[in-house]
Symmetry: C2
């Protein structure tokens, strides 16, 4: 999987003219970085003087953050795969009427998938903000900037994923799907911008 | 170096209770991701129908973006090293007056370095926005979301690096250094937020 590559190679492949990995996979990776930093701040709080009584809460956060991290790692691949499926559908034969119809349906199904995959990243990018806020407010003060970086990385991951949802919505014919998903996009967009701002205001340097 | 690690291991080490890699190295990595996406959009524009006449400009951008990418990769390590130097200075002996004085000076020098390293990341994170804007405006429309993701990643990399500058400034006694650097931080902060907004307004989906 893509996360088995070393960072240099991942950056090299991203920079190349191959369309994947692209912005969607980068979004999932940056959400993964946010999750990792969240776990780190919680880990740096457990057992530290001045933070007694927070052990249980911070251990729960470490566990949750690790789960988010694993999920985001999977989405680095899922996003690239969803793009490849769209490309594959476009390459289907279109000689006969039957082929044309089958190809059209395949393309539409692939586009819906390519919208739903980053939507999941965005939903989780918003959800993880809850534990990021907790580590920023209650966690080890020496690591508060790491919590701030986590909040910003998750904001950017979420907004980046939403761009990838929106570009796919533009080609989807199912108006009900487009309308429903478009509403979800707008809702997450508004919330993520607000919560990042709220968290950063709570960062005391 | 850290960029030779695979992504899974890098995320695992970030999540651990070891203080590095932390937010500073993550900032450099996310600037590297922005640079890689910028190169990708330029690469996807070169030789494409409808984008004739942009070859030279896009080739220059690929070259510049690759240089930024390499620089940011180096800063993933430099940031972690600068943090380790601060930790090492704190561990110096402090029995005699001489030792105390030497330790104090070492700590102050290490803190200045730990502020200047992320300041370089932030300066370059701001500078790269110029070519990100160009690929968003003139580059392959099919990759416009990748340009948008690059702009957001570089904004977050820059702001994240600036948090790391600011936290170190808080412990530096050289008031002239603190004032001068603080002004640079405020200047970059204002500019990066504005330019990200400007670029995103130019993204047509």
């Amino acid at each position: 999987m893509l996360a088995d590559k070393n960072i240099k190679d991942f950056l090299k492949e991203t920079a190349s003219s191959a369309p994947v990995p692209g912005g969607g996979s980068v979004a999932a990776l940056s959400a993964g970085l946010a999750a990792a930093l969240t776990a780190m701040v919680a880990n740096l709080t457990i057992g530290k003087k001045g933070y007694e009584g927070l052990e249980e809460e911070m251990e729960t956060i470490v566990k949750e953050a690790e789960e988010y991290k694993e999920r985001f790692i999977e989405y680095i691949d899922k996003d690239s795969e969803s793009f490849n499926k769209v490309m594959a559908a476009f390459k289907l034969p279109k000689e006969t009427e039957e082929e044309k119809e089958a190809r059209k349906n395949q393309i539409q199904a692939a586009l819906k998938n390519a919208a739903l995959v980053p939507l999941e990243v965005a939903k989780n990018g918003l959800k993880i903000m809850n534990i990021i806020e907790t580590v920023v407010v209650k966690g080890n003060k020496n690591a508060v900037t790491d919590g701030a970086v986590a909040a910003m990385m998750s904001r950017t991951a979420t907004l980046s994923a939403l761009y990838n949802v929106k570009i796919n919505l533009g080609s989807i014919k199912d108006t009900e799907f487009v309308e429903k998903t478009g509403k979800e996009v707008a809702d997450i967009e508004e919330k993520i911008v607000k919560i990042e701002k709220d968290i950063l205001e709570k960062v005391v340097l």
